[in-house]
Subunit: 185 residues, 2 copies
C-alpha cells in the first residue's frame, strides 16, 4: 500500500486527531521484537499526554512495559479492513507489517516504527506507570508528531463494539460561540 | 426543549455510545447543589467502567468527590449550541438546566439527575479514587442506563479543540471479518 507523506505537526495540537475518539494502531518494539495492535480505548490526559488501555494478554503490553516507548498511528477509513485484520491476529505469530503490506516508517525519538500508511504518527515515551498498577493503562507523552498536510481532517474510524464502526462525518465550527479564554482549553 | 423518551439499556453495552468518543454532559449533585459540565476527555476502562477527566478548577470536581455519583448524558447534534453554552459558563453562577431550558430527569440509583433532552443517560457511582491522586481522573461504574429506542445510533458530536467539532457519520459493519471470539471484546 502507498505510504502517506507527512510533515512535522505541533505536539500540543494532536488532540485534533485523538479527542474525537478514533481507532488507533499502536506499535511497540523491544530489541528485535515488534508488535502492532488495534486500539480503541484511549483518552487525552493533558495536551501532550495520552492514556491507552492495553490488555495484559496482548503482546504489546509486555513490549510497552519493557521499551517504555510506542508510536500511535492514525488510520483512515480506507484502511478499515487492515485495522480489523490487525485486531484479529497476534504479533506473537506474525509480523503484521509484512502480513498487511504496511511499511515501517523509522521514528526519530523512539525505537518503534510508525505505520507509513497512516495519516499521522505520534512518537511517544512512557510518562509514568503508577496508574498501570490498577489498570492496564499506560500514560504516554507525545514527544514528536508528523501528519499528512492534506486532507486537513481525515476520515477516521470509531469503534462501537460487535464488529461495527462509525466513520467520522462533517466538521462544524462553533468558534463564534466560545469565550476567547475557553478556546485554548 | 422536548425531552427524549427512553427505555432501559444494558449496562454492558453502553460502549456503543461512549467508545466512538462523543462529547458528554456530566451532572453531579451534592445536597442542594448541582453542577453540569461539558466533557470531552473520557474513555472505557472496562465494559461497565468509564474514566472521566474533570479539571479541579471545575465545580463538578468538588461535587463528584463529595457525592461519589454522577450522570453521564449523551447529547445529539441538535444540542450542539447548548453543549457549547454549558461549557462556557460556571455552575457556581447559574443553574444550567434553567438557563438552557433543560429538564432534570430524576435518576433511580443516584442523586444527580439526568438531562432529559439527551439520547442516553448513564447513572454512575464512583468505582475508585486511587487514580485521582495523580490525575483529575474519576473512574465510574455504570449502575444503570436508559436510552432512546430510536434512532438506534444517534448523531453525536466530537470535539477537536479550538471551537471545532466533528459530527458522527456513516455506520459500517465488519462483523464478517471478525473472528467470533473477538466480537465480544
Amino acid at each position: 500500500m502507498k505510504p502517506v507523506r507527512k510533515r512535522a505537526f505541533p505536539v500540543d495540537r494532536v488532540r485534533r486527531f485523538l479527542e474525537p475518539g478514533p481507532v488507533l494502531l499502536l506499535c511497540t518494539q523491544w530489541k528485535d521484537e515488534r508488535a502492532l495492535m488495534t486500539l480503541g480505548w484511549h483518552m487525552m490526559l493533558g495536551y501532550d499526554l495520552v492514556g491507552t488501555y492495553i490488555w495484559d494478554a496482548n503482546r504489546s503490553h509486555a513490549l510497552a512495559r519493557r521499551s517504555r516507548e510506542c508510536t500511535l498511528n492514525l488510520p483512515t477509513a480506507g484502511l478499515l479492513d487492515t485495522v480489523v485484520g490487525i485486531g484479529n491476529c497476534s504479533s506473537r505469530e506474525v509480523d503484521k507489517f509484512e502480513r498487511f503490506g504496511l511499511d515501517a516508517a523509522p521514528s526519530r525519538q523512539v525505537a518503534a516504527p510508525g505505520v507509513a500508511q497512516c495519516h499521522a504518527i505520534l512518537e511517544c515515551t512512557l510518562h509514568e506507570t503508577r496508574i498501570t498498577r490498577d489498570y492496564p493503562l499506560f500514560v504516554w507523552r507525545v514527544a514528536q508528531a508528523r501528519a499528512a498536510a492534506a486532507p486537513k481532517l481525515p476520515r477516521t474510524v470509531h469503534y462501537r463494539g460487535e464488529g461495527r464502526f462509525m466513520v467520522s462525518g462533517d466538521e462544524v465550527s462553533r468558534r463564534r460561540l466560545f469565550r476567547p479564554d475557553m478556546l485554548e482549553q
